[in-house]
């Protein structure tokens, strides 16, 4: 079983690497098309996708590999939607992108809550309570994203109508529920602990321990 896991892990990591290459190609395409807004967009996307690697090298910080993969994949979806205009040419593309982004948000939420539950004295939660908070946190972050679109902070064009808004919020809710269900199963089997163990210990050393020491002084 260990060998199979390692093969899967290596393949996912190489897929993540492949996605980054596609992003560099997107960056070159953006430059060629002289779409400078998207030159900046793709650059930011690429930077976000390699962020886990940078963090790992600089501070010995390891993000769970699945998070690394999801960040790269979603950035590709975003960049493809804007640069290759899939957002307007492929029906439902934007909703699919939003759904995967919410999956990422839900996974990060679940991981953060789980790590806090494991390492911080200020939070001890039953696994079903963790699942519930994951769902409502994903929904709330979705609402924040809609506020950003509404206020037009990024200066980008978004479709602003009630039906699209409600579909986006539905995608957030469904993504939150899916990750909550998977999360509970992984917590029950102890697999989630393995995924977040290294990451949790580093967060514990870097943030929680320092905060608790500061509070105790």
């Amino acid at each position: 079983m260990g060998k199979i896991k390692n093969i899967c892990r290596k393949r996912c990591v190489s897929f993540s690497f492949l996605l980054r290459i596609v992003m560099i190609i997107s960056l070159i395409l953006a430059l060629w098309k002289k779409d400078y807004t998207w030159v900046v967009g793709t650059f930011i996307g690429f930077f976000i996708s390699i962020l886990p690697t940078i963090l790992k090298k600089d501070t010995k910080f390891t993000l769970p590999w699945i998070l690394d993969f999801l960040i790269a994949f979603i950035t590709i979806l975003f960049v493809g939607g804007r640069l290759l205009d899939y957002d307007s040419t492929i029906p439902g593309y934007q909703l699919v992108t939003r759904f995967f982004m919410s999956i990422l948000v839900a996974f990060i939420s679940l991981a953060v809550i789980y790590v806090l539950d494991e390492h911080w004295d200020g939070l001890k939660m039953d696994k079903y309570a963790i699942a519930f908070v994951t769902v409502i946190l994903t929904m709330s972050i979705g609402v924040f994203l809609e506020f950003i679109k509404w206020l037009n902070i990024t200066g980008m064009y978004y479709v602003k109508n009630n039906h699209v808004l409600m579909l986006n919020l539905s995608a957030d809710t469904v993504a939150g529920i899916i990750i909550a269900i998977i999360g509970v199963k992984l917590i029950k089997t102890g697999k989630f602990d393995k995924i977040t163990d290294e990451f949790g210990n580093q967060i514990d050393k870097m943030v929680i321990d320092r905060l608790e020491k500061r509070n105790s002084k």
């Binding site: 200020g122 001890k124 939660m125 039953d126 409502i136 929904m139 709330s140 009630n162 409600m166």
Partner: protein
């Protein structure tokens, strides 16, 4: 002002609000507004639920909750019956009061679970955060309800994109306001006082923790 006189004031206010509700019922009968006659009767029954729970089941809801429920109902019924929804921002006010009520209920439930249930131990600031996201998430569920009603029955519960986002923004503000009030009440110990009776009754009937035994033993 001491606690007894404050409690007495609260009880008097609760009765005054119920008398206002009866006056609304009389006005709607006088005007033969059948929809609001029915609405007033339903609202009156809902506002009497805390009294019924106390008399028949010995469950004491916090007086603040009793008052908040009645104010929310009065604003809604009064708005419809007296045409107050035509007043600028009246809808915003009623939405804020309802969201504040939801946030208060969320805070009470989380606080009681934290006090009596072994499955939840939460720092007061974490509680405040969860109250905010719960209020936003319930706001989203409410918007889903309106959206689906419009799709299925062809009604116009949702007025449009900006109005939906405005409602969600008000939910967030009400959640933040309640979170700030709640944290300051926990610090002063007054939140414990107002939820003590309800907490003990819920513990006895549902949670069945060993807290009482620990207290006595």
């Amino acid at each position: 002002m001491n606690k007894d006189s404050l409690k007495f004031g609260g009880v008097v206010l609760s009765y005054i609000l119920k008398i206002i509700m009866i006056i609304f019922l009389i006005i709607s009968i006088w005007k033969l507004h059948w929809v609001w006659i029915f609405g007033c009767i339903i609202a009156l029954i809902v506002s009497l639920i805390p009294t019924i729970l106390k008399r028949n089941y010995q469950i004491t809801l916090p007086l603040v909750l009793d008052i908040l429920i009645t104010i929310a109902l009065i604003l809604h019924v009064g708005g419809g019956l007296l045409g107050a929804y035509g007043i600028p921002n009246y809808d915003t006010l009623t939405h804020f009061v309802s969201s504040f009520l939801i946030a208060f209920i969320a805070f009470v439930i989380i606080y009681i679970l934290d006090e009596y249930w072994e499955g939840l131990i939460m720092d007061k600031y974490a509680m405040a955060f969860v109250v905010i996201i719960t209020t936003i998430a319930i706001g989203v569920v409410w918007e889903f309800n309106e959206w689906i009603t419009d799709l299925v029955f062809g009604t116009h519960e949702q007025w449009g994109y900006a109005d939906t986002l405005k409602d969600l923004f008000i939910d967030m503000i009400a959640g933040i306001f309640m979170a700030a009030v709640g944290v300051s009440m926990i610090k002063r110990g007054s939140f414990d006082e107002i939820t003590e009776d309800l907490g003990e009754q819920i513990d006895k009937r549902i949670i069945k923790s060993k807290k009482d035994e620990q207290k006595n033993g």
